[in-house]
Amino acid sequence: EDNSPFSGGIFLGGRGINQSQKSANFNQYNEIAPGLFGGGNLVYDKDKYHFMVDGAYLGEDDYYVKMKGGKWGEYKFSLYFTEFPHNLSFEDRSVFVNPGSQVQGLGTGATATSLRNLSTWPSTSFDYKYTRKDAGGTFDLQMIRPFFFNVDANQLKREGQVPWGANSPGSVSNTTELAKPIDDTTTNVNATFGWKSKQYYAAFSSGYSWYTNGAEYISFVDPFGGGLNRIAGAPDNNSYYLKFTGTAKLPLSSTFSFTGSFQQNKSTTNLSNTYVNIPGVTTSKPSFNGDVEYWNVAANLTSNPWKNLTTKLYFKYLDNKNKSDTIDYINSTTGAFLGSNELFDYQRTTVGAEGAYRFTKTLKGILGYEFSDLQRRSHESELGEVHEDPTTAEAGIPDTWENKWNAQLVWNPLDWLGTRLKYQKLYRGATINMSNPVNPADPASANAVLDNYKQDFYAARKTQDMIKSTLDLTPISNLDVTLEYAFKHDSYDGQTLGYYKAQQHEFIMDGSYDLKGVKFFGFFDYDTTWTDQQTRYVNVTSTPPLPNASPLAAPNQNSFNWRSSLQNNNYAYGAGSSFPIIKDKLSFIVQYDFQKNNGTGDFTSQFLSTNPNSPIALNPNLLNIYPWDDYTMQSISARLKYDVTKQFGLMFGYIYRQFKYNDAQIPAVDPNQTSATILGYRYVMNPAPGTVNTLLSGAYTDQNYNANIFFVRAMYKF
């Protein structure tokens, strides 16, 4: 029997679930449901040929079939068909009678006023979810050595619906959350041909990808009286690339590696489809042709010039050229220019050097330095060009450059002790291009003044310190423990508005112990982060006192600074054990995992008021947000495995899972909610009595659940 080229196994099981409430969160990427399940695998392995197929859950939303095979040393291939859901939120409700369709309408007689009464909403209950069906394969030809060729292709299809905010054309303050359909397909084909020897490697790759969106445009009737309107989704697009990668072994145990690539992404959109109900506006071109190119070049030289020293020099260049159309918006009556789109290019150049020296058999040091320069440019149509010097970055998206040093130490002084320590320092500079001097007390100049005091966090001047230390311990045989501590501190230098400080500490412990077949394992993680930001509130439309946009100016009710300190404390731990009850017959595995996140938004405001227009003193504690992505997640799993024979086995399992979510933005739905007593989540928001400005659908309010899962699985191996 041992000589049979066939082997494999099948499994069949049954599952029962007791769940407190329907929750997408329980099955975020799965389709765990009561009933039967099964799957198996088959392996053929004889002489030079091999083949394997593995699959499970056929007919369900999370099935998979994976095959691979080939002839050793000559070729190999794989094929796969997989599907899985992405469940976002269940049992949501919509003001539209046909949520998830491409044309969404209101019920007969529905008005914004009547919509306040939830009983008049359509009774439709729907789920926000979509499935991802992926089918593909690879083929790798090895028999033409030293040449090689491989090709892969796949098609990914998504179907379903996601929550989407549809702002009202009638008033920008009004908005409706609707179920936007997802119906798109991405097809990718890639191929590589090359040559490889011990000395040299050269590979040419190319690929083509195209994306088609079957639900590119969504029309909806504005509940706030704006008539029929439209959302423009992702456009059909295609992308291709050409790439060369080569390496060469050189003297001094050196290796030179080089890669150069070109990628072009293109899309075409008929602009007349993208919007309705914009009276009096035409565009300079009937359609938009998107065209973004990526040019990449990278090279590095690694050397081992003498016994204990290794070095690396590297260079990278990325040029993102946006050659898309610029589109002018024109007043169709007067011909006046109303505005245009703004496109962005950037080029990043990076050079660096690293050296690693082994001082002793147990001690190694690594030093590294990297400089990178990122230039950002924006361009509009000639009519829309507002920058006198197109080579100068505009305020808000400056050029940045970074100097980064790092030092690492790897020290394994004892058989049972290993250590790793890394420190990294980063300085980022930015060309802050202040706008023209303006009067901070002039309401018309307020935004320009604010721009003078803020830097976008991703392009701001910054100093960053990072430390990471790791201890690997094996104090006794079969006991492995790893301890890790990581620290990161970001200081946004010279920042007045926006992020100005961020910090993170993370402590991790991971361990396992094997005591004569009885295994114990455990994990602990504590991650705490906080981010400080400052913002200036400026109300330019109110009655006196006049606002002053400068954050350095004294506050008044129409202009003041406020700070928020955002903190997240996340800790997780888990422990488990697996042990034999009867050797080679009966074994048991049990595991418990817990995770808790506690987030807060601690506010400090220069000017305390319940409403910026009504300067009433307010207790600062009322500003702070406490439930801020707070959650608790825990699970218990226990499995008893009984090997009846060498071929046949049974498994009995129990899993308990719990998730509790508490958040100020998305509180749980109060089942007793009526228009008169509104607690918890709001489907309808009314900024003032008798008015409605927002219609939500309940997205993500279903996160809490308790679930007990029981299963039994029989498995036969041959």
Partner: protein, 305 residues
């Protein structure tokens, strides 16, 4: 024999053959024999050379001295052994692998990670199956990829288990879908020249190109999203609206104080929270935040269409 094995022979050891190894290491031998390394039909395989000693070195001294871990100069692939030496044993046959073309450039080699730290050739299952997980161990890894990688990348192991994560622990994607552990010239050993070019492979709807661009989006997805997992919805680095306020402060609502008093409980402003902060906050209106092809202002340019 490779340079490493030749070095091992310097102590005077000679090859003793697989039968001698089998006498004491039967389980190990069986696993080897069942693996591709044990197939004689594959040219240059250990089975066509010195068998076990092709990798572990000549064993005569080991046998003469009565065996034992490392006794007689055997290469045991223990982590205490020099990582370059351990990798050299594997590279002796696998150096021509196209997967390893950029091994010298990669961070794993620099950090003394060797092949045997991840691959366990004696435990490579002949009949690999995930039994319902879709995570059949591949490439002689002892378990699912994320478990193997998570042994060193503890922070990533923690991240992929947070509430908002890519479906890695569910087995829908693997570490090597995005990373090339054997060396790459991209950042973080990703399988693309830049972060966005990698993300677009699965998220082609974000590829555009869009008429109205949101500058950080086209530059680097990682400015706003975590790759592995986090505590905020959609793997965001910070909660909305605070994330948006990291760049946006203007006279309209971006500068408004979104404290608990005015924005969420609504108890102090007429009984209703603000639609700028409640629910999905900024995304209640600015849904097309990755880019828009809609005309109009405010429209596509503010990503509300």
């Amino acid at each position: 024999p490779s340079g490493v094995l030749a070095q091992a022979k310097r102590g005077g050891a000679t090859f003793v053959g697989v039968d001698a190894c089998k006498e004491c290491h039967e389980d190990r031998f069986k696993a080897y024999a069942a693996s591709v390394h044990g197939k004689k039909v594959v040219p240059d395989n250990p089975a066509n050379r010195e068998g076990c000693e092709s990798c572990h070195g000549p064993g005569s001294l080991h046998v003469d001295q009565g065996g034992g871990k490392g006794v007689g100069g055997m290469i045991t692939f223990n982590k205490k052994e020099n990582s370059d030496m351990r990798s050299a044993v594997c590279l002796n046959c696998h150096e021509n692998s196209t997967q390893l073309a950029l091994w010298d450039s990669g961070v794993h080699k620099k950090k003394d990670v060797s092949c045997s730290d991840c691959h366990s050739i004696h435990s490579g299952p002949k009949t690999a199956t995930g039994y319902g997980t879709g995570m059949a161990p591949m490439g002689y890894l002892p378990g699912p990829e994320y478990v193997t990688c998570g042994k060193c990348h503890l922070d990533i192991k923690a991240a992929i288990n947070r509430r908002s994560h890519h479906p890695i622990v569910e087995g829908r994607i693997t570490c090597s879908n995005c990373h090339q552990p054997h060396g790459s010239m991209g950042p973080a050993q990703i399988k693309a020249d830049s972060v966005n070019q990698l993300c677009y492979k699965c998220h082609a709807d974000k590829r555009g190109p869009y008429m109205n661009e949101h500058p950080p989006v086209g530059e680097n997805c990682a400015y706003c999203h975590l790759a592995h997992g986090g505590v905020h919805t959609a793997l965001l680095t910070e909660k909305v609206p605070n994330l948006c306020q990291g760049c946006h402060d203007a006279t309209r609502h971006p500068g408004t104080r979104y404290g608990a008093d005015t924005m969420f409980t609504g108890g102090l402003i007429g009984g209703s929270p603000s639609n700028k902060a409640f629910g999905r906050s900024c995304l209640n209106c600015h849904s097309n935040i990755h880019g828009s092809n809609a005309i109009g202002s405010p429209g596509g340019d503010f990503f509300i269409r």
